[in-house]
């Protein structure tokens, strides 16, 4: 995987876990032009999935409206300390990134 790793923190809070993810991605909209006047090609995360102990719990379809270095936060019911959280993304170039964290 060529992209920089995501930063994932997952904290148990009672019967839930709050997961916070920072993704490293340019999220280029495809609307900007460079100094020579050429359009900078669109390059953004299109699909995000998150799994809890192997079971998919979140599915998202993103577009160019999401800004650079996106921050995502969500809560999983029934997650507890020691559980494994995996986050994946795929962008419009087909590049991917998968990172995991343990709920603390």
């Amino acid at each position: 995987m060529a992209a920089d790793p995501m930063r994932i923190r997952a904290q148990a809070q009672g019967d839930k876990a709050v997961v916070r993810v920072l993704m490293s991605h340019e999220m280029e909209t495809g609307q900007r032009k460079d100094s020579a006047g050429k359009t900078i090609p669109a390059w953004f995360i299109q699909e995000v999935t998150a799994a809890h102990n192997g079971k998919t719990v979140l599915n998202a379809e993103w577009g160019p409206a999401v800004s650079k270095n996106p921050f995502l936060q969500f809560t999983i019911k029934g997650a507890k300390a020691g559980d494994k959280i995996t986050v994946n993304w795929v962008d419009n170039r087909g590049e991917k990134r998968s990172d995991e964290a343990t709920v603390t």
Binding site: L22, S24, K68, N69, Q73
Partner: protein, 266 residues
């Protein structure tokens, strides 16, 4: 996300209009910071910097783990809030970024002059920024306490004060033109008075910072570079004496201020 941050930045700007009472401005700032505690992309640069600190790189295939940032080889925590300071091996006062380049050169065999000439955001300069972010993060919450024991540190403070007041260029601006008084702002951007401690997490205590408006991580060298650009001055060299002197002036004046670096900015 960007809309949220710009909205929050706008909120902070309006909250800091002089018509507001001192107390409610402070509350608004605290609220704004709470909102942005999580999700500061500076974390990504901090992680990258930590990896670079430990990674064997360069012609000497060595890590930076024995780099002396002023508190002894390899001591990272607490180093940021004591920089710039004098270093015996280079016989000069250095700030964080120039000291990192010294270590990259002496420990790893990378070319210091080449790195200094590389534009911000490219090549090894990207790595310097990430490393600076990592080192700053290790001092988060600590208070600035730059040493002034060495004569050269005191001399740089005096040079820095004069640099701060140096008026020039087609606009006759000095640093003091904008940062020399309490309670001023450009448009809606508050300007800290850098002749003294402007408060916890303000001014010198807020950089390196992630700038949401351009998605860039800025260390103090780039912050000063862009200040001089807007002052209509010529281009300050990376790690040049003027930039180190003025950083020494600001850092010593900020004594006691809590560092919140790396922070997030509009």
């Amino acid at each position: 996300m960007k809309a949220l941050w710009i909205g929050a930045a706008g909120l902070m700007g309006l909250a800091l209009l002089p018509v507001q009472a001192q107390k409610s401005s402070a509350d608004a700032i605290a609220e704004y910071r709470k909102m942005l505690e999580d999700g500061n992309p500076a974390d990504l640069f901090e992680a990258k910097g930590e990896a670079l600190w430990k990674q064997k790189r360069g012609p000497k295939n060595a890590s930076l783990e024995s780099c002396d940032l002023g508190k002894g080889p390899g001591v990272v925590k607490g180093a940021f809030v004591e920089l710039p300071r004098h270093f015996v091996d280079t016989k000069k006062v250095q700030d964080l970024e120039s000291r990192l380049v010294t270590c990259m050169s002496t420990l790893q065999g990378l070319n210091a002059d080449e790195i200094a000439k590389t534009p911000f955001g490219r090549g090894e300069q990207e790595n310097v920024t990430a490393l600076a972010t990592y080192v700053a993060a290790a001092s988060r919450g600590l208070r600035f306490n730059l040493p002034q024991a060495h004569a050269e540190e005191r001399r740089m403070y005096e040079i820095g004060k004069r640099v701060f007041y140096f008026r020039g260029g087609p606009y006759d601006f000095s640093c003091a033109s904008c940062h020399g008084e309490d309670g001023k702002r450009i448009r809606l951007q508050d300007l800290p008075n850098l002749n003294k401690n402007p408060g916890d997490g303000i001014g010198f205590a807020a950089w390196p910072a992630y700038r949401v408006s351009n998605g860039q991580m800025w260390g103090m060298q780039l912050r000063l570079n862009d200040c001089y650009r807007q002052q209509r001055f010529p281009y300050p060299g990376f790690g040049s004496e003027a930039t180190i002197a003025v950083s020494t002036y600001m850092g010593v004046n900020a004594k006691g201020a809590e560092s919140i670096a790396p922070s997030i900015k509009r």
